[in-house]
């Protein structure tokens, strides 16, 4: 972690890392909205994504290190499509029509499976991406007084691209409307010709790809280790809820808020209360839930009696 020397720097870095929290939160939000799956395994998906990229990067398919990592990320994303298919078909399809709690339990099982697989496959020692220094130069990008490490430049660009593409699809296309329709009332949507299980597969694919890409950034910042799984959950879940669990744009905002607080207040408090930095997201979540139970952008249900 880069020590921020000035408050401004802390704010910029906070926002930059917030974008990647936003992407993880998007993965979480989307699965909840469409498939009504509260994905406790989000951290483990990020962990697996990081290891998959590591695996492909270590094959050195392309000599150029930057291209190499991009190719690795692409391959990992493609593989995660297969994983999404497996997850939906093998684990969740048998559970259609079951209470939400059953689905959540299944994500717990999924998390255990993914985590167990990574432990057996890669052990528990801390790993880094090959040629990391060439991909993300050590000297930060300097814009005036602000020093921004290159990995955050990647993070911001990637996150903005993902969000832009996603929001366009979700808001403007009939496919997006159909996705939202499924999220609101699957039975009725099915009677109008929307294939529910396909929509669920799409949402799993998006969730996995978003997790893989967050794995790339989180792995670059923290190193690749089982720790990423807890880190992923402790950022994705609060970020998603702060923004409102069913709001994709809220996820980005939640991520930004979280990154900001973590890198300013969190760093400061950590001096006096060691370890509080990892709990700060949850504390922020508790406060937000007290003030706005549905998050900042969450849809307040129209309750009729």
């Amino acid at each position: 972690m880069v020590e921020a020397s000035s408050i401004l720097n802390a704010v910029i870095i906070g926002l930059a890392s917030g974008t990647i929290y936003g992407v993880m939160a998007l993965s979480f939000v989307l699965l909840y909205r469409i498939a009504r799956v509260v994905n406790i395994a989000v951290g483990d998906m990020v962990l697996l994504g990081a290891y998959l990229i590591l695996f492909f990067a270590e094959l050195h398919l392309v000599p150029n290190p930057v291209l190499n990592i991009l190719v690795a990320a692409l391959l990992a994303s493609l593989l995660s499509v297969a994983l999404a298919l497996f997850t939906e078909r093998a684990l969740f399809k048998p559970l259609y029509g079951q209470p939400v709690l059953t689905l959540i339990m299944m994500t717990v099982a999924l998390g255990l499976l993914l985590r167990g697989a990574t432990i057996i496959g890669w052990g528990t020692t801390l790993r880094v991406f090959p040629n990391q220094n060439e991909i993300w130069p050590l000297h930060p990008l300097e814009i005036g007084p602000v020093k921004l490490p290159y990995v955050y430049v990647w993070s911001i660009t990637g996150a903005l691209l993902i969000f832009g593409a996603f929001l366009y699809i979700f808001r403007k296309t009939i496919f997006g409307i159909a996705m939202r329709a499924v999220s609101l009332d699957p039975e009725v949507a099915a009677a109008h010709g929307i294939t529910i299980s396909k929509m669920y597969i799409y949402s799993w694919i998006i969730a996995y790809v978003a997790a893989v890409l967050s794995g790339l950034i989180l792995g670059a910042i923290n190193g690749i280790n089982i720790i990423i799984s807890d880190l992923g959950l402790s950022r994705a879940l609060p970020a998603a809820l702060i923004g409102g669990i069913d709001s994709p744009s809220g996820a980005l905002l939640g991520g930004l808020i979280l990154g900001l607080i973590e890198h300013t207040l969190g760093t400061y408090l950590n001096i006096y209360l060691p370890g509080i930095r990892d709990v700060i997201p949850y504390l922020v979540l508790l406060v937000v839930l007290i003030i706005k139970p549905y998050g900042l952008f969450g849809t307040v249900r129209i309750e009729r009696v």
């Binding site: 259609y96 029509g97 329709a181 609101l184 699957p186 039975e187 009677a191 109008h192 010709g193 294939t195």
Partner: protein, 277 residues
């Protein structure tokens, strides 16, 4: 407003939706429909009549495949549409064949706007242009056009009912299965909705199967009626025949032989019965 000429129904004769001795079982072994046979002519309005819980809705759900989402199955008999067996297909596949089911109870997608809600019915039909399709339904439902930017959860009951019909209509299906469109609506609104359904039927040649408790209203627009009781069809015929049937008059229209029984009078009779027993 409706200048297009009435389609001649005789142009395409024949029964194109057939139910033959259909039985429906819900998980694990609850038999709900006990051998129902129906023949529906293209371009007609058919009414399924009967009280709550008698199986009208289940028949519609069996045709549309929605029972599959509720752990139900057609366990005997077959359903044929345009010469093709459709029993136990998943609802989305049935919908793509041109049969759209409208759920009882006005299930709008509350958080979508009216326009998005209608458009959701168009998913997977690439050949249609969204703008034209919207124009087509707004033609029948001008009220929805006025309110197209409002979240559909905020509409009144009648408008929501129109919205769900419009959503079913936008994909231009051949068969519309309407489940209790009049439930909990006010007489004037019911009239309005039934008028529109009749108009769509006449101008578009759309086949409508209607499950209704409001027997009088349903028979006004229907070409043929079936009375469903306890998962079986107990009576069928033209509206005139059903209206004049003394049992139908007694049970469904509330007209006793000596005129309608006042609710005030029911009480003393039943009360006396309670004292005696």
């Amino acid at each position: 407003m409706f200048i297009s000429p009435k389609l001649t129904r005789d142009a395409m004769p024949g029964n194109f939706l057939i139910l033959n001795n259909v039985e429906v079982t819900f998980d694990p072994f609850i038999l709900v429909i006990k051998g129902v046979s129906m023949e529906v002519e293209k371009g007609s309005i058919v009414a399924l009549l009967g009280a709550n819980g008698m199986g009208k809705s289940t028949i519609l759900k069996a045709i549309s495949g929605v029972i599959r989402l509720e752990r139900g199955r057609v366990t005997k008999g077959y359903i044929e549409f345009n010469g093709r067996r459709i029993e136990n297909m998943m609802p989305d596949a049935v919908a793509r064949l041109g049969i759209t089911y409208v759920h009882e109870g006005r299930h709008v997608f509350e958080e979508l706007t009216v326009e998005e809600d209608i458009l959701s019915g168009l998913y997977g039909r690439r050949k249609m242009d969204p703008k034209d399709a919207l124009e087509f339904v707004y033609n029948y439902f001008p009220r929805l056009k006025e309110r197209r930017k409002i979240r559909s959860g905020y509409l009144s009951g009648g408008e929501q009912q129109m919205l769900v019909i419009a959503r079913a209509l936008i994909s231009q299906p051949d068969v519309l299965l309407l489940d209790e469109p009049s439930l909990g609506l006010f007489p004037s609104v019911i009239n309005e909705i039934f008028d529109i359904v009749k108009k769509i039927n006449e101008y578009e040649g759309l086949t409508v199967i209607l499950a209704e408790q409001n027997v009088k209203k349903a028979l006004e627009i229907a070409d043929y009626g079936y009375v469903v009781e306890g998962g079986k069809i107990v009576l069928d015929g033209t509206p005139e025949k059903l209206m004049n049937n003394p049992d139908v008059q007694d049970y469904y229209l509330g007209i006793g032989r000596a005129g309608r029984i006042s609710y005030q009078d029911v009480k003393s009779y039943k009360r006396r019965k309670r004292w005696i027993s």
